[in-house]
Amino acid sequence: MSLSVTKAVEALVRSAAEAAFPEECCGFLLGPTPEDFEVLGRPVVVEAVRPLPNGWESGERTRRYQIDPKLLAKVEEELSGSGRSIVGFYHSHPGVPAWPSPFDLLRAWPCYSYWIVSVMEGKTAGSRSWMRSEDGESFIEEAVEVA
């Protein structure tokens, strides 16, 4: 099970996370719609990312992110019928490790990959990717492969 990303994608996400520090950044992961998307361990290939504004209220962006649903609907519409889709989301954790928080779990959807980048003192400090378990009770880690 893995999240495959290109070097360019990884570099983009790292720079977005560092630029947003101490606030959280967020964005879409785009790629071919996986077969068996709902099955734990399915491979996900990220071909591109789309950085997005953090839509959470301004005072809390150091520990929260939110994606404007209108942007999500727009991108889904753009990709409709192309065999590609939003396969997950990235966001950063400023000052804390890349473990999903209880709040991440509370708001987690099935299928998607949740790629979290830790940023310590303005520099990225590792990343991990997660998928929600079927029962919604936990996150299962998937390897991040940069090629």
């Binding site: 967020c26 999500l72 889904e76 409709s80 396969v87 966001h91 708001r107 987690a108 998607y112």
Partner: protein, 471 residues
């Protein structure tokens, strides 16, 4: 009546991998019921056990969120699209700061106040406060905020504990003299309340680091002792939108306000420019009564708690002045200055500036003529022809002086320079060398041949004559 229901990629596995499903219904709710009837797996993903739509699901009819229309009763017609759109959110913090059993006991007196209660205590636990300075004002601020249970307390300081701090800086103790102020503070604060995350920023607050630092906190409590840092704190608070629980003290008087709050005035609205350098002495030069920082610092802590809890009437748009000798408080109303350079509509300051230059603290480009205390000793021994001018205040002169010196306090040097013999070299000293440098500058401009004594009488006492008292 056929309506297309469009599914995001994450829901397609629960609807036979279709991107969209054509269904009938007169309202959005009816269409969704039809969808769940056909694809049972979707229901579990989108509805809670008691049949309500989960909070991370948005339903759109064409371009509009049904929350802005008639909810599930929003009518739909042939050709409309119903979109199921994930509300994606998350973040590093826990959903809500829960209180442990130990915290429930510790904060009992807060919890029984209806204005605070468990909700308020959780707000405190989620709050991050940055104290600028761990000295006179920073001590009561940090102690009370830690005791009250703020989640994270940041301290900015780069000094070490000096014996002369202990008369008022109750965060530090005698064994800590000579060690880092922040290390000393953390030890004390951790012992007081181990639940508080004490973050140490052992650095000088500068125009380069202030913005990034302030962004990590909710409230800034300014306990600085100089104008350059005070303007920096003010501007960085305005630029980052953080309220500043401000306090300052001098001799027997204190000031208190909340600056930089939304729609409230800032320090620059009150004082667009700093006083000329040297006019207002610092506490190190002018002195401060021991308990005074306790009075002002605890009130800054109080204002900080009110800002976090959102209770009462914070000191926004009001400046409180405290006179300890008269034991009187006065409250002045402050207005936002429409011409303010940092918070006014035509603000020119968009990023922190050079505050040393703004406060006139940059030393002039030409080197200050200077001699060491050893050279002064030799000059005196040789009975060179010169005037030794002391520019400290009379009460300082009484505490300690160098024999043979003439006293003219800095504030009177320009006016009384006529008393000095212009044919002689003027050797100027003060306590540490700061005020005397200003006096040398004044005298040079008036045509005197003046030199500064580096390190002042303090260095004299340390290196030449230990019989001269240090104060």
């Amino acid at each position: 009546m056929s309506v297309q229901v469009k599914l995001p990629s994450a829901l397609r596995p629960f609807a036979d991998r279709q991107e969209q499903v054509a269904l009938d219904g007169k309202t959005a709710g009816e269409v969704l019921d039809a969808l769940f009837a056909r694809h049972g797996g979707l229901k579990k993903q989108l509805l809670t056990d008691d049949g309500k739509m989960r909070n991370f699901v948005n339903i759109y009819v064409n371009d509009d969120d049904i929350r802005d229309l008639k909810g599930l009763n929003t009518p739909v017609k042939d050709g409309d699209a119903v979109l199921i759109v994930p509300a994606i959110a998350g973040g590093s913090a826990t959903a809500e700061a829960a209180l442990t059993k130990e915290e429930l006991q510790r904060y009992h007196r807060h919890l029984i106040l209806p204005e605070v209660g468990p909700e308020g205590q959780k707000k405190l636990k989620s709050a991050k406060v940055l104290c600028i300075g761990a000295g006179g004002l920073g001590s009561p601020l940090a102690l009370y905020l830690t005791a009250a249970g703020v989640g994270r307390l940041g301290l900015v300081d780069f000094d070490s504990v000096d014996a002369s701090n202990l008369q008022r800086q109750i965060l530090h103790d005698t064994p800590s003299v000579g060690t880092s102020k922040l290390v000393s503070a953390k030890k004390r604060l951790n012992a007081l309340n181990p639940n508080v995350d004490v973050q140490l920023h052992e650095q000088r607050l500068t125009s380069a680091n202030a913005i990034d630092l302030f962004r990590q906190y909710d409230v800034i409590a300014d306990g600085t002792d100089n104008f350059a840092t005070r303007y920096l704190v003010n501007d960085a608070c305005v630029l980052t939108g953080k309220p500043n629980a401000y306090g300052s003290i001098f001799k027997f008087e204190g000031q208190l306000s909340v600056f930089g709050a939304k729609d409230g005035p800032c320090y620059r609205c009150l004082y667009p420019e700093p006083p000329p350098p040297g006019l207002v002495p610092s506490c190190a030069e002018g002195g401060v009564l021991g308990v005074l920082p306790g009075v002002i610092g605890t009130m800054q802590a109080l204002e900080t708690l009110k800002l976090i809890l959102g209770i009462g009437k914070p000191l926004i748009g009001r400046l409180m002045l405290f006179d300890a000798l008269a034991m009187e408080w006065r409250t002045l109303k402050l207005k936002k200055n429409p011409a303010c350079a940092v918070c006014g509509p035509g603000a020119t300051i968009k990023a922190p500036i050079d505050y040393e230059a703004f406060c006139g603290l940059k030393t002039p480009p030409q080197a200050m003529p200077e001699i060491s205390v050893e050279e002064l000793r030799d000059k005196l021994a040789r009975k060179d022809r010169f005037v030794l001018l002391d520019v400290r205040e009379p009460h300082e002169y009484e505490l300690a002086s160098i024999p043979g010196s003439t006293l003219i306090p800095l504030g009177a040097v320009a006016e009384r320079s006529g008393e000095l013999d212009i044919t002689k070299e003027i050797v100027v000293h003060c306590k540490m060398g700061g005020r005397s440098a200003k006096a040398v500058d004044i005298l040079l401009k008036k045509g005197f041949k003046a030199v500064n004594v580096a390190g002042g009488i303090h260095a004299w006492s340390e290196r030449i004559d230990p019989g001269v008292a240090q104060y």
